[in-house]
């Protein structure tokens, strides 16, 4: 047995035998698939908006209509003011989380001279007739490229979520067709789709005056899994997620670690219960997902003691369960050797890999979803 800090070493055995972090029960399967179905609808909207922003709203000083996806009508404006829309802000918070925490090839590329050269070309084309912007760019040469870095993350996350949305839609279809019946089946589906999309290129280009300008060209060699999926998991699952109102941290009380790698405020760690006074929503994401829950999930929630009074908390709990499935798929997808290997050194390396992941999950909600 290897040394481990993990309080629950049986989880290592469970993962080694191909099972998931989340126990396999019919209700868990239903909850996870149901919540991922609603998540897929929401991600679909988020990814469209992120890509729309990256492609058409880049370098705009006041992108007033960035949540309109190019369709600006009075009725849509009224719906926007009435807040009858997706909380696209959530997608932006996730994007900023990735930008802040960095990591992966995208982060490295955005600091490269190649990106600077590409961005200067875009800036020059965009502000060809704008003396003020051109002068500003000369005075503050890092300002506009930084805006394009942000846009690159808009695009990166948009492309990542496009794949994830389709993956969760197909998971739901397969579940409804009876092809997926267990948590292991859910994890398998996610893992296979992740692996299938692993080498899909991540590129970003904008069009100015009918001319296309590459910001992230294919030649940069950025790929789906290594350069967007893993940085996303690191930033949003582990380090910090915009779950507004769930928990507040006081930096002055040293509740926030100085070392970013020590952050443990991601989706896997978030307390689903809102803290503080009345009226604070658990998260924008939960608010969005509640509109697209399948009937069978509503039925599960209605059976709880408070019915659907605490719907957003229940969604949050289900969402965390589903994210542990995605994490399991990621652990399996990045396993150094096949799980069923018989070679001792390969088994040892696999075990070390699982242990490293589980050590990071020590303070997560893993115990709660397993209880």
């Amino acid at each position: 047995m290897l040394d481990t800090k993990n309080p629950n070493p049986t989880l290592i055995d469970r993962l080694e035998s191909g099972e998931a972090l989340l126990p396999n029960t019919p209700e868990n399967v239903m909850e996870v698939v149901g919540i991922l179905k609603s998540y897929a609808v929401v991600l679909d909207g988020y990814s469209r908006n992120l890509n729309f922003f990256a492609e058409t709203q880049f370098l705009l000083v006041f992108p007033f209509f960035k949540y309109f996806d190019g369709e600006i009508t009075f009725s849509k404006l009224l719906r926007h003011w009435w807040h009858d829309r997706l909380n696209f802000e959530y997608a932006e918070y996730c994007m900023r989380g990735m930008l802040w925490h960095g990591g992966g090839g995208l982060d490295e590329y955005l600091d490269s001279p190649e990106f600077m050269a590409n961005s200067q070309a875009v800036i020059a084309a965009k502000f060809k007739h704008n003396l003020f912007a051109s002068a500003t760019n000369k005075l503050f040469p890092n300002f506009l490229p930084e805006q394009l870095r942000v846009c690159a993350y808009y695009s990166g996350l948009g492309q990542f979520w496009r794949v994830m949305a389709d993956m969760f839609f197909s998971l739901s279809d397969r579940y409804e067709q009876g092809e997926v019946t267990s948590i292991a089946g859910v994890v398998d589906h996610i893992k296979n789709e992740l692996v299938a999309a692993a080498n899909d290129p991540i590129t970003y280009a904008v069009k100015i005056d009918q001319q296309v300008y590459d910001i992230i060209p294919a030649s940069a060699g950025l790929t789906f899994l290594a350069d967007t999926a893993l940085p996303y998991v690191e930033a949003v699952f582990f380090r910090g997620t915009p779950f507004h109102g769930t928990v507040t941290y006081n930096a002055k009380e040293y509740q926030i670690p100085a070392d970013q790698a020590q952050f443990e405020y991601g989706a896997l760690f978030a307390d689903p219960l809102p803290i503080g006074g009345a009226g604070i929503p658990p998260t924008l994401l939960m608010q969005d997902m509640r509109h697209y829950l399948p009937d069978y999930l509503h039925e599960i929630y209605r059976r709880s003691r408070r019915g659907e009074d605490d719907l957003r908390v229940q969604i949050c709990i289900s969402f965390q369960k589903s994210m542990f499935c995605v994490t399991t798929a990621t652990i399996f997808g990045l396993m150094p050797y096949p799980l069923d290997t018989t070679k001792a050194d390969e088994r040892k390396a696999n075990r070390r890999h699982i242990q490293d992941w589980l050590d990071r999950l020590n303070n997560s909600r893993l115990a709660e979803v397993n209880s």
Binding site: I275, R305, D309
Partner: protein
């Protein structure tokens, strides 16, 4: 007209009590609510026909009863009793509505609540000392049974303690009443014909002492208060609502009606002592409230403190202070009823009132945010935050008492600050922070749980914003009471003039 307020709940109590044993629980509950609703509606009818400018008793009813004893069935209302009658009507409805539908022995329970309404209505209506005493005593029996049968774990102890204290209270009140009648040579127990000015001052002081202690137990004033926290803690929520909301007011009503009104000379002599007594009650009640861990006990001690304000205003005895005292009676009735109601909902849903256990109940998803918000409104009203009825009544009390007893008034104002302290402790412990793990899986709070509290909260705000809708009923009466008794306030005012 006034007998309706006695007969309606009495008929209701008898009807429910004699319903066949197998009748559905819902039927007795519905019947009780119908009779209580009619009773309340009738008080509103009376209020609509009430002449605001008339000094004397209105809608008087007189039926000779036992001539030999000088006892007559004599009812009447004025600006002092009318608001309290309406309050009793409202709180009886709310108490019945808040009762658990699955309560054991429902027919007996609902009958007793209506019987309690008979006793309280009768006491507020009585214009005859002996008749008042009979109703005052009548109210004890159902209340004792309601605590003893449907109370908490130590209900026997609390009910017995309540009975002993209030029985002593009754004896002292009866002795004082008899003393006033016999020594003054009055031909009957009628309030209107009683003239105690013929009695020597010492006799008046002794008689007033009996009344003060008798009603002081009921209010309750320190040190006669110890029955109240026990009774509240052991009583079920609807009974606590009635106890704090209206039954304690019998004490302050009696003090004003029979103490200040009938023995003005003695009152004038004892008034400084009464003001000091009020200070002690306010500070002691507030300090005890700060030390409590049981939410209900905290609200109970808060009641003791807030009833002290009424004594302070009564001691000052100016037209404005007596108006303030009346206002404080109604205000405290509404606010304490709201607080006990909300504590009851919290207890029903969480199974605890312990401030060490409860936490984060304001949680918008899994807590009880509306109940918490109403609780916040209730404690703000109790602490005298402007915009609510508590502020108006306390402001009038302090404004009118300050010229007469500046030191006592200032110290009592400190009590208002202490109210904010203990209620902040309550709110902070029970409602803020993360929902405690012990009460994580709370059942749903339904609108039926919230509705009575919402009604009380609306009234608290409405009367806070438009106090004249409350004050107008009592102004003529309270002014007349002070003028006819010519007591402390007027003397002090004339001295200043």
């Amino acid at each position: 007209m006034l007998s309706v307020l006695i007969l309606l709940p009495l008929i209701g109590a008898a009807l429910i009590g004699f319903l066949p044993g197998g009748i559905a629980v819902k039927t007795s509950r519905t019947l009780a609510l119908v009779f209580a609703g009619l009773n309340f509606a009738w008080t509103i009818v009376l209020a609509c026909q009430f002449n605001l400018g008339q000094i004397t008793q209105q809608f008087a009813e007189f039926i000779p009863w036992i001539d030999e004893l000088g006892l007559n069935y004599h009812l009447g209302i004025d600006g002092l009793s009318l608001p309290l009658l309406i309050l009793n009507g409202l709180l009886t409805c709310i108490a019945l509505y808040s009762t658990d539908e699955a309560i054991q022995r429902p027919r007996f329970y609902y009958s007793l609540i209506l019987l309690l309404a008979v006793g309280v209505n009768g006491a507020f209506l009585a214009q005859d000392l002996l008749l008042f005493f009979l109703f005052y005593e009548l109210e004890l029996i159902p209340l004792y049974l309601l605590i003893a049968i449907w109370g908490g774990e130590k209900r026997g102890y609390a009910a017995t303690k309540f009975l002993i204290y209030t029985a002593v209270s009754g004896i002292l009140i009866l002795a004082s009443f008899l003393g006033m009648i016999w020594l003054s040579g009055a031909p009957s127990f009628a309030l209107a014909t009683l003239d105690t000015s013929v009695l020597p001052l010492t006799t008046q002081i002794i008689l007033l002492g009996g009344i003060l202690i008798g009603f002081g137990i009921k209010i309750p004033l320190v040190p006669f208060h110890t029955w109240l926290p026990d009774a509240h803690v052991e009583a079920s929520t609807p009974i606590s609502i009635l106890l704090a909301g209206v039954l304690l007011k019998l004490g302050t009503y009696g003090l004003l009606r029979f103490g200040m009104n009938l023995l003005p000379l003695a009152w004038e002599n004892l008034a400084p002592l009464l003001a000091t007594w009020a200070v002690i009650s306010v500070l002691y009640g507030s300090c005890c409230a700060i030390a409590q861990k049981d939410m209900k006990k905290m609200v109970a001690y808060s009641s003791i403190g807030h009833m002290g304000y009424i004594l302070l205003a009564a001691a000052a005895s100016t037209p404005l202070s007596i108006l303030g005292a009346t206002m404080q009676m109604v205000s405290h009735g509404l606010i304490s009823a709201l607080l006990f109601l909300l504590v009851g909902v919290v207890y029903k849903k969480t199974g605890s009132r312990n401030l060490d256990v409860l936490q984060g109940l304001l949680n918008p998803e899994r807590g009880m945010p509306l109940i918490g918000s109403l609780m916040m409104l209730g404690v703000m009203a109790s602490a005298g935050i402007p915009g609510m009825v508590g502020f108006i009544s306390e402001f009038i009390v302090f404004r009118s008492s300050f010229p007469i007893y500046p030191i006592q008034t200032l110290v009592c104002m400190l009590g208002t600050g202490l109210t904010a302290v203990y209620f902040l402790i309550l709110m902070n412990s029970a409602f803020f922070g993360r929902l405690s793990n012990q009460v994580l899986d709370l059942p749903r709070v339904y609108w039926s749980d919230r509705m009575p509290a919402v009604i009380l909260a609306i009234l608290i705000v409405i009367f806070g914003i438009q106090p004249n809708w409350l004050l107008r009923w009592s102004e003529t009466t309270t002014t007349a009471m002070v003028k006819t008794t010519n007591v402390v306030g007027l003397n002090a005012e004339s001295r200043r003039g």
